[in-house]
Amino acid sequence: MTIKELDVIRAKKKALIDVRRTVREQGEKLAKQTGYRKQVLVCGGTGCTSSHSMKVIEQLEKSLKELKIDDVLVVKTGCFGLCSLGPIMIVYPEGAFYAQMTPEHVKTVAEKHLVKGGEIVKELLYQGTVAKDGSIIPFAETPFYKKQMRIALRNCGVIAPEDIEEAIAAGDYSALEKVLTSMTPDDVINEVSASGLRGRGGAGFPTGRKWSFAKASQGDIKYVVCNADEGDPGAFMDRSVLEGDPHCVLEAMAIAGYAIGAHQGYIYVRAEYPVAVERLRIAIKQARDCGLLGKNIMGKGFDFDIEIRLGAGAFVCGEETALLTSIEGHRGEPRPRPPFPAVKGLFGKPTIINNVETWANINPIINNGAAWFAGIGTQTSSGTKVFALGGKITNVGLVEVPMGTTLREIVEEIGGGIPNGKKFKAAQTGGPSGGCIPAECIDTPIDYDSLIAIGSMMGSGGMIILDENDCMVDISKFYLEFTADESCGKCTPCRIGTKRLLQLLTKITEGKGEPEDLVKIEELASHMKQSSLCALGQSAPNPILSTLRYFRQEYVDHIEKKHCDAGVCKALLTYSIDPQKCHGCTLCARNCPTHAITGKVREPHVIDKDICIKCGLCMSNCKFGAVVRN
């Protein structure tokens, strides 16, 4: 495809995409140019497809046919971000934001709203977009979206990711065009360096510097790799980018290839992401067919192609040297650095390896300039960061905020607070390699350096919110189970250290802890940090160290008082029935799986503590609040 042909596509589809980005009145004017009276966008990301958004699309197409409506366009997009309200459907030009749609709801919307002269069905909208007086608030103005700034996710939930023409019209491949027509490789690297972009995979290494090392390395064959092995449990940022805008990653990899002199790229993606893999396959094929990958891209004499490699379920492969070993077809074990991949990487050749979200920032940096990007965020952490917000929070979903946004803004405003009136206890960032941010640090600005200063880390972007019912010792144990399971076993400090830490934590949660266990934990943790081969082992103690720093008393209570305040650690709990409150209704006794509860009708019941397995069923069934947990 030549630049002229790209321009033709942009001209043809621009209005169609713009309708989805503008406010109501302008949108209506624009809609007239598109040939479509309305556009209905349905989320086809993993979150919404899991809540059956494909049935929503089926029903929508069926209803439109039945009602003989042919001027409404149905678009299957990537993630809109508000996953807890899925399946989500947005109707433009009004920007009507329908949530938790069922096929029944779709029928109603088609009959009442999508027909000519139809009206928005208010009761099916996301209720956050309906004001008290009944007027409709644009969804971009709701607390969830208002404080967000979408750079990496700019096209997610806007375009149909399986349609390269929409991607081109939305701006994909425009940066590659600029680079190939008017920039030297050094210009590209200087621009990326000046933007201050740091790796979004977790460690935060300056991207421009990585590229310049790879450019400086001698060799006729070099490689560009995309790390899409998003292994942190509870994180789905990279998956959303790949599902919503796969072309932006292909484009950025080609730009890097031009900058360092590479002609082959690899995307290493988790096999657990079938939707993302499929969209990538489609995107690569389309890009090749259009001459945007392959030989002589845009007729500018530059060759670059990309291959997909599937991971097979090993967390350690998120570590760059382990990932490269895995692409080579071996056990995904890390190797010592130096030599760094920029010098000796894939198949022994100079390689740059960046994470999906890092790649997603390249197009805007090239198009808008380094100064624009550096002006967003904080001095040392420029740009935005995408977080997968999960756990005990009202608005579970995907958010992108400028660096420096405080945790309070994310939890209370964007996240909509903690459900069921519970108290915020901590936010866990960085997954098994990170730590927690306690309630007293809720005003900490989120950027690389502030998080390290308080003992956590940015990580790849998983953010799990914990409330008063979560036990921090148990959470540490959860992460240690994960790292002990995922340790590749190559180096001793990690292989044996994670096991030993897990044993100590298990001992504490089972009520067998001794005061010197905490000393042992701290000593072992410091050895592991210093002597493990790769980041998995070096950072595995972080969840324990950071909870010990802020919630030491909880550990002490578990050890000395044999008490778990949050009521999570089973071995430390006892259930009993308050005879004053018990009505003798027998409900608990009938539901007890081990028949540990006895008593006559209308007389107080008793729990036999020797038989009780502490499942808590009696407590959740009792209508009188008579079951007490200590």
């Binding site: 979150g47 789905f236 379920g313 198949f347 999960g390």
Partner: protein, 165 residues
């Protein structure tokens, strides 16, 4: 380790595997890809299949076995017709997915990692399927079941049992 009974699989499966090996053997780093394809053909990776791959690529069996046992996606045991997988990612865990797993184990009478004797169900845990908005979540083959409570488990499994009758 469970070996295949007699000759492993059908001649069609053997032919498919041979074709995959022929097609990929010159691609650098092809072993993982071949193992993934082989698992798609046979449902798991029995020893004779690993031997065929080792011979086809002219590498040692220990190398093939080393890779097959390193990654959690590869299975040396046959899986059930319905593969139940309970998500134990963080978002699901803090919402009680451990209790869901306990309930499935109780309901199927097997431990995580095993299959039922009739070959209908196998049970595993996984780390995040990315449907955190629906936590806690379990998957049965490609179906995602979300917003689970322990008391819902029996009904879901019974649904698959009914399919078989």
């Amino acid at each position: 380790m469970k070996e295949c009974k007699g000759a492993c699989g059908t001649p069609e499966q053997a032919a498919k595997l041979k074709a995959v090996i022929e097609e990929s053997r010159s691609v650098p780093g092809c072993l993982m890809h071949i193992l993934q394809e082989a698992q798609a053909i046979y449902g798991y990776l029995p020893m004779p299949v690993q031997k065929t791959i080792a011979e086809g690529l002219n590498i040692s069996l220990s190398e093939v076995y080393g890779v097959a046992t390193f990654y959690s996606q590869f299975s040396l045991k046959p899986k059930g017709k319905y593969r139940v997988s309970v998500c134990l990612g963080t978002a699901c865990y803090v919402k009680g997915s451990d209790k869901i797993l306990e309930k499935v184990e109780e309901e199927l009478g097997i431990k995580c990692g095993d299959s039922t004797d009739d070959g209908l169900f196998s049970l595993d845990s996984c780390r995040c399927v990315g449907a955190c908005g629906l936590a806690p979540v379990m998957m049965v083959n490609e179906d995602v079941h979300g917003r689970l409570k322990p008391e819902m488990v029996k009904g879901i499994l019974d649904g698959y049992r009914r399919n078989e009758q």
